[in-house]
Symmetry: C2
Subunit: 281 residues, 2 copies
């Protein structure tokens, strides 16, 4: 078992990864015209797959593309791939591009490139759930933020710095207003209310599901949140498909409140745990 | 002869395009971690190839990557490809990505993916040089603008609108300040001076060369230029490797000055013509 699966799905077929051939003329490669989605397995099965498929279709639509298979067939492919690749636990990645573009400009949206890969799940150190994690603020606004596109340049260019500083992710902000983390959603707690960025962000599958489940207990306010408000918040929270609900206790050199895991975050972590205990895929 | 060449160069070898296989795990595809450069041929030979190779290496360096071949070998590959592909005139595209990333996160910068493609040159209608062209203003700031990366989402999403409106390109602006066109450089003439955006833009190979050649005749001022200044300018000018010097006479619904090709633009067009008459590759 390697980091990536020995088998992949590409344009209708499951095949050994080394036989999977993407054209150098692919618009996903030449022009970054591509969307993806990523989910994790739970007990070996795709977790929250309906939400991820819905989001993947939303992303595709924003690029004028259509996912070329119905949901049940995609789930079957995922299950077959997971079986063949034999990871302990895995992340499953669906990618859809504009397809082959002979002139690097035009392509036929009816012949997209669609592939599914699996990767060995990377372990999140348990300490981050106990003591919280750190984010690094970075000035950036994702292009077409409502779509999960493949543009991760700023994140990858900061990878070494994240590792050096022991930070989990970047916190993107633009014009003083925060949007989301590079690979996760981000929420703030102030005066008992949960604040969520209202626009210009990707639908966070775990975040939305957890906030829905918590709607009886907490007010959730969707509005712009400044970076200063985040730094001065009572609690900061990151949510992600592969990391669940994570307390954020530091942003750059700033400690959030007392620097410990707050009560709202703890409750959302509990709610997420109850979702994973009874997965309703 | 097709729109794209029958042969391509990939990781050290010239091969038929249908045998050129990029891994679905390539960081250029999964994460948009890729740079490129594009030049045109003149009389069948690569034009301004030194400048494009220099810019390609600059772009690579900004991503922590190295172009894995010396310039003379790259030029030989281009010439061999052009011979094999037999285009009348062509654009030549070099692409460098982070290489294969098994986990979609890490990759070895010492094993990048490097390929070279050729495309049939698309003809620019001669009328744009006589009567000028139109740009559509679009709020956008390219990620890592000093590198020629593959992120062209905003441009491609506006492709249909550009064609409908008979516009040649998008004019990017952010916070009221213009940067460059989506696929070209952009300059403004006011009171006999040429204004050029000073930072946050790609090095325009044709633009820089033409402005250097014109340095005896015109003052060139590098500074921020607002969108309003561009619209109210005496002349607006687009430069590009595949289009040369192009007069811009309209931005959205605004006509620039009298809507005709101005004297500074005409002089720069002449200078570019003299460069193509005696190509110093």
């Amino acid at each position: 078992v390697g980091i990536s699966g020995a088998y992949v799905f590409l344009n209708g077929e499951i095949m050994p990864a080394e036989e999977a051939s993407i054209s150098p003329f692919d618009a996903g490669l030449l022009r970054g015209y591509a969307v993806f989605d990523l989910l994790q397995t739970l007990d070996g099965r795709p977790f929250m797959v309906r939400e991820h498929l819905q989001r993947f279709r939303n992303s595709a639509e924003l690029l004028g593309l259509q996912v070329p298979l119905p949901n049940d067939e995609i789930v079957s492919v995922m299950e077959r791939l997971l079986e063949l690749n034999g990871h302990a636990d895995a992340t499953v990645r669906m990618v859809l591009t504009g397809g082959v573009s002979p002139d690097g400009m035009h392509f036929d949206p009816l012949t997209p490139t669609f592939f599914i890969l699996t990767h060995e799940l990377f372990e999140v150190p348990g300490s981050v759930y106990e003591y919280g994690t750190k984010l690094l603020a970075a000035e950036h606004q994702r292009e077409l933020p409502e779509a999960k596109t493949t543009g991760y340049l700023t994140w990858l260019l900061n990878h070494a710095r994240l590792e050096e500083e022991g930070a989990m992710d970047l916190l993107y902000h633009s014009g003083g207003v925060i949007s989301e983390a590079a690979t996760a959603s981000f929420y703030v707690v102030r005066d008992g209310k949960i604040l969520a960025p209202g626009t210009g962000v990707l639908w966070g599958t775990v975040g939305v599901r957890v906030l829905e489940a918590a709607a009886d207990e907490f007010d959730v306010v969707y509005r712009d949140i400044s970076l200063v408000e985040a730094i001065q918040a009572d609690e900061c929270i990151l949510t992600s498909s592969v990391r669940g609900v994570v307390p954020v206790t530091r942003i750059d050199e700033h400690v959030i409140a007392e620097g410990t895991v707050g009560p709202v975050t703890r409750r959302l972590m509990q709610i997420f745990k109850s979702l994973t205990d009874e997965p309703a895929t």
